[in-house]
Amino acid sequence: MSDKPLAAAIDGWHTMADKPHLIGTQCTHCDTYFFPPQNQYCRNPACDSTDFRQVELSRTGHIWSYTNACYQPPAPFVAADPFQPYAIAGVQLEREQMVVLGQVVAGVSVADLRVGMPVELVLETLHETDDDIKVTWKWRPLPTGSNPATGA
């Protein structure tokens, strides 16, 4: 295990806490959420607000769909050597009424997943640089029977 410091792979898109959240924005006029965060213009066609608050998005949701990457993506992806395939999920967030993509944590394959399965957001290594370990959000299946709708 490397003793390099952890750093967000993309600055300002998630908290670094033990139970991390994605950081989004919400229009103060119409309540539409945005991820990635944006605070310049509201994309709801019925709203011309330029007023946004920063919000932590729900850190649990249900799988909308899932797949994996069997081949190494091109740059700017930085692959481990040798390349390790990983699963990917789109996750429906109840309160925000949106689907957010992300990798699934290491060790979980598509055979372990199904549409509708509850998952939570965690941080895991995306890749290492000379100076630090770049972490990003990934989805992790929750134990069967847990109810993410209440676990905001």
Binding site: T32, F34, P36, A46, T67, C70, Y71, A75, P76, V115
Partner: protein
């Protein structure tokens, strides 16, 4: 009908990985379409080109480039960029010009030479660019196709065998199409033996990128009558509408969908909205359609499209496929050209290639790919950045 124009010529350069300059494919397609129409190049008053954006000088893939190659003759030009829908947008521009009475006969043309390997975004640290973000996080084009495919499996019970059957079906007709790139009859075993790319999609479930060119000669109904082509197929409807907020299906290259949390807002599927304007313009419904050319970027996506065009009820496309209802000779033949499975994608030409196939089908000139009694055809495609289109051609 007041909003119709005639298609009097169609032409294509065969799809392949030829590695030549795209201009050559466009010129070949344009000359074939002109000869097909029997219209001299000098009579064309509007050249409408489909564009794409490539590293280097994007403005070069343009209507004017083809007009110069065919020989400057003082026509007006237009260039349309709309990703996979570029060809339809170029066709819509020509239709507008003709219906406005500014031009009687126009050339619509698109051609492309695709680079080898992955299309990767510019480097650096650029989180403001969604295309950079998704590649950085390890999400490629097949990821999106696979998410849609898996949803079909878990919700409707589609199987890997169904997806392979789409490839088998399309390769059977594509093998008879001299303009197709892949002309081999593949079996379900061939598909199953190809490498898994993005579970559940294998290499042979996913379309390649190709070189190719396609062109149409379109004109006013009056001009068609004047040159003795009053019964030429007509463009009866074109849709190039954007998505509607809140777009509820995660679309390439985005990392998230719109949020439908606002009062009075609901999540809406873009694909299912694309054909609506085309049906409305044409004044016909899905029950009138004889055949469809849809954008099978993946085998599973063909099944989505059949439902999005309302040709079959939601969730039933695989059942129709299993019964042979979407094959040549079936109730609603889909992709009798062979589709992207047999062509590979040449972005600015592809939407026009779909219309070329409908034109030949409606004229009864499609040879051993012919759909008997074809009267109405519909196309559908969707690409990056909220671009998509659907064109209805009728006899």
């Amino acid at each position: 009908m007041a909003n119709e124009i005639a298609i009097i010529g169609a032409g294509m350069h065969p799809w392949g990985k030829w590695g030549h300059n795209f201009v050559q494919y466009g010129v070949a397609a344009a000359r074939e379409a002109l000869a097909d129409a029997g219209v001299p190049w000098q009579d064309i008053r509007f050249v409408s080109g489909g564009a794409t954006v490539r590293c280097g000088y994007p403005g070069y893939v343009a209507g004017a480039t083809f007009a110069q190659a065919l020989g400057w003759q003082g026509a007006e030009v237009n260039t349309s960029y709309a990703a996979c829908a570029s060809g339809s947008q170029a066709l819509a521009a020509a239709r507008n010009k003709i219906l406005a009475g500014e031009c009687e006969v126009a050339l619509v043309v698109g051609a492309d030479t695709t680079p080898k390997g992955f299309l990767a975004p510019a480097g650096g640290y650029r989180p403001e660019d969604p295309d950079w973000v998704r590649f950085y996080l390890g999400i490629t084009n097949p990821t999106y196709f696979a998410l849609y495919a898996r949803r079909r499996m878990d919700i409707y019970g589609d199987t890997l065998e169904d997806f392979a059957a789409v490839k088998v079906k399309n390769s059977r007709v594509g093998a008879k199409n001299p303009r197709a790139r892949y002309r081999k009859c593949f079996t379900a075993e061939d598909v199953a033996a190809s490498a898994m790319v993005a579970d559940p999609l294998r290499l042979m479930d996913i379309c390649a990128t190709s070189d190719g060119g396609a062109a149409l000669i379109v004109c006013s109904l009056e001009y068609a009558r004047k040159i003795g082509k009053a019964d030429a197929p007509r463009v009866a409807g074109i849709s190039t509408t954007t998505p509607t907020f809140a777009s509820g299906v995660v679309e390439m290259p985005d990392i998230a969908t719109d949020s439908a949390a606002a009062n009075g807002v609901e999540a809406i599927s873009y694909r299912s909205r694309i054909p609506l304007k085309a049906y409305e313009e044409a004044g016909i419904g899905p029950e009138d359609v004889s055949l469809a050319e849809v954008y099978d970027l993946s085998t599973a996506l063909e099944l989505d499209w059949i439902e999005d065009l309302q040709l079959v009820p939601r969730g039933e496309a695989a059942a129709w496929l299993r019964r042979g209802d979407t094959a040549l000779g079936g109730r609603i033949p889909v992709n009798v050209s062979g589709g992207l499975a047999c062509f590979g994608e040449a972005v600015p030409a592809q939407a026009l290639a779909q219309v070329c196939e409908l034109t030949w089908q409606l004229r009864g000139e499609a040879g051993d790919r012919q759909v008997k009694g074809a009267k109405v055809g519909i196309t559908a495609n969707q690409g990056l950045f909220g671009h998509g289109s659907s064109v209805i051609v009728k006899k």
